[in-house]
């Protein structure tokens, strides 16, 4: 059977979807709840990495598993790779920072 979706929104309302395999840029399919929705990826995404499902301006809380996993520290566009370069934990103590 061939794949019917390429990324998974673990909770249907999540701001990010996770790549189920290494994906090239271009249109991919996101499984969210019962729906399968298209999403244009802005660049390749490795397995297990996250992609924004909607625009996430700097300071926006980012939800995965239906819970907040951190906040955007840059403006993130829908389809963009979301990782340590553009989001950060709200829980971790950031001792190095002033």
């Amino acid at each position: 059977m061939s794949a019917r979706w390429d990324l998974l929104a673990i909770d249907a309302q999540d701001d990010v979807a996770v790549a189920l395999r290494d994906l090239p840029d271009g249109v991919a399919r996101v499984r969210a709840g019962e729906a399968v929705l298209p999403l244009s990826l802005r660049g390749a995404v490795p397995l297990g990495h996250k992609v924004a499902r909607r625009d996430l301006p700097r300071g926006t809380p980012i939800r995965k598993y239906g819970a907040v996993i951190g906040e955007a520290i840059a403006d993130i566009a829908a389809g963009e790779h979301v990782h340590v370069h553009n989001m950060r934990s709200l829980r971790a103590r950031r001792k190095e920072e002033p």
Partner: protein
């Protein structure tokens, strides 16, 4: 629909998924006779506590909970305790006795410290008990008698994404059937404790969850470790994890979505139906032994690249959703959920299938770890000895 499995109904109303004769050396001095006895009774399972004296406080209390809890576990049809002094031995025996199962307790004291005489006495008693417990028969039992411990070990990007949420859907099914589910590994709640706390059955339970994490964090800080400083680590980050919250949410996903009934100390009995969280170590062998001492009769163990460790007393169903792992480790992985990663399988259908397989293993079908005798146990410690 009523879910059932074929199990051994124990005198205390609990359900065995196996019917083992347990030979437990309750302290480090009596491993020799206990080994001799267990070796000579095919099917007997040996458990050796390597400690037993010079412990104090919560460390000692935890050791006693582990010994008594393993003896009470419904997968043990009969128990032989081997000890040195009567006093300690009887204390453990008294804690196991309410389970109503056949129980013998033999001490070096009784044979004037003659370990060979103890071995001989023990062998005769154990042989009789092995014959006695073989009379037990499996009968159809409701899934409400399942007590499921859920562990993850050797994770990768597929664990938090697929395997743990899958295990969580099965935990929900067990809880909805009236059974018990438990997750542990307190350090893996770090960053997600507020999510677990929000699902707590009462505000007190919510506070206990947050406190359990704070306590571990304080222990680590006292040893000079900062648990949030370099967490997620480099390997996690390469796998796509961006924050401690995200990592921990992927870990606690294996507990499912039902209300958390309470926080239980390591190896303490699970007080009733529903989802529980155990305050315990993150490493799988002691974590799982805590579940089994708490009464778990089945385990689900999720893994990414693979992990062969299983419990000796509770059947351990190995689950992966990593397609390469499932292909490679055909004599380790009991349930292949890789369709979830391939985008070909419905999560709810996969969870129904895993739940059905869990009931089948509970009914006697061996897991790979049992076939291959991978089973182990490990006693967690807290603090130094006198």
């Amino acid at each position: 629909m009523t879910h059932e499995f074929l199990g051994y109904l124990r005198p205390d109303g609990s359900a065995g998924t196996r019917n083992r004769l347990l030979v437990i050396s309750i302290l480090g001095l009596t491993g020799g006779p206990a080994r001799r006895i267990a070796r000579q009774v095919p099917g007997a399972l040996l458990i050796e506590m390597p400690y037993g004296r010079g412990q104090f406080g919560e460390d000692r209390a935890m050791m006693r909970r582990m010994l008594a809890g393993l003896g009470r576990n419904p997968n043990a049809g009969g128990v032989m305790l081997v000890g040195a002094d009567r006093l300690r031995l009887d204390a453990v025996a008294e804690a196991i006795a309410p389970s109503g199962k056949p129980l013998e307790a033999i001490a070096l004291d009784d044979v004037h410290e003659d370990a060979l005489a103890l071995s001989d006495r023990g062998l005769r008693l154990a042989a009789a008990m092995a014959r006695d417990i073989s009379r037990a028969r499996r009968v159809p039992l409701p899934a409400s008698l399942l007590r499921l411990g859920i562990e993850c070990g050797h994770s990768d990007a597929t664990s938090g994404l697929g395997a743990n949420p899958l295990a969580g859907l099965v935990a929900d099914r067990v809880v909805d059937a009236g059974g018990v589910a438990v997750i542990g590994e307190t350090m893996e709640w770090l960053g997600a404790e507020h999510v677990l706390a929000a699902r707590a059955a009462t505000p007190e339970v919510g506070r206990a969850i947050v406190e359990a994490v704070a306590q571990r964090e304080a222990w680590a800080a006292a040893s000079g470790e900062d648990l949030t400083g370099n967490n997620p680590g480099q390997e996690n980050i390469r796998g796509g994890l961006s924050s401690i919250e995200e990592k921990s949410l992927g870990a606690i996903a294996k507990g499912g979505s039902r209300p958390v009934q309470g926080v239980v100390p390591h190896a303490a009995p699970l007080p009733g139906p529903g989802l529980w969280v155990m305050q315990g170590p993150a490493f799988s062998p002691p974590s799982i032994t805590g579940f089994v001492a708490a009464g778990c009769n089945m385990l689900i163990f999720t893994t990414g690249p693979g992990n062969s460790y299983c419990d000796a007393l509770a059947p351990t169903v190995k689950v992966t959703v990593n397609p390469k792992t499932a292909q490679r480790l055909t004599q380790q992985i009991d349930f292949d959920g890789s369709g979830l990663m391939l985008g070909t399988r419905e999560p709810e259908e996969a969870a129904d299938a895993l739940f059905a397989q869990l009931l089948d293993h509970a009914g006697g079908t061996r897991c790979w770890g049992e076939v291959l005798d991978e089973g182990g146990y490990a006693f967690a410690r807290l603090g130094a000895d006198f």
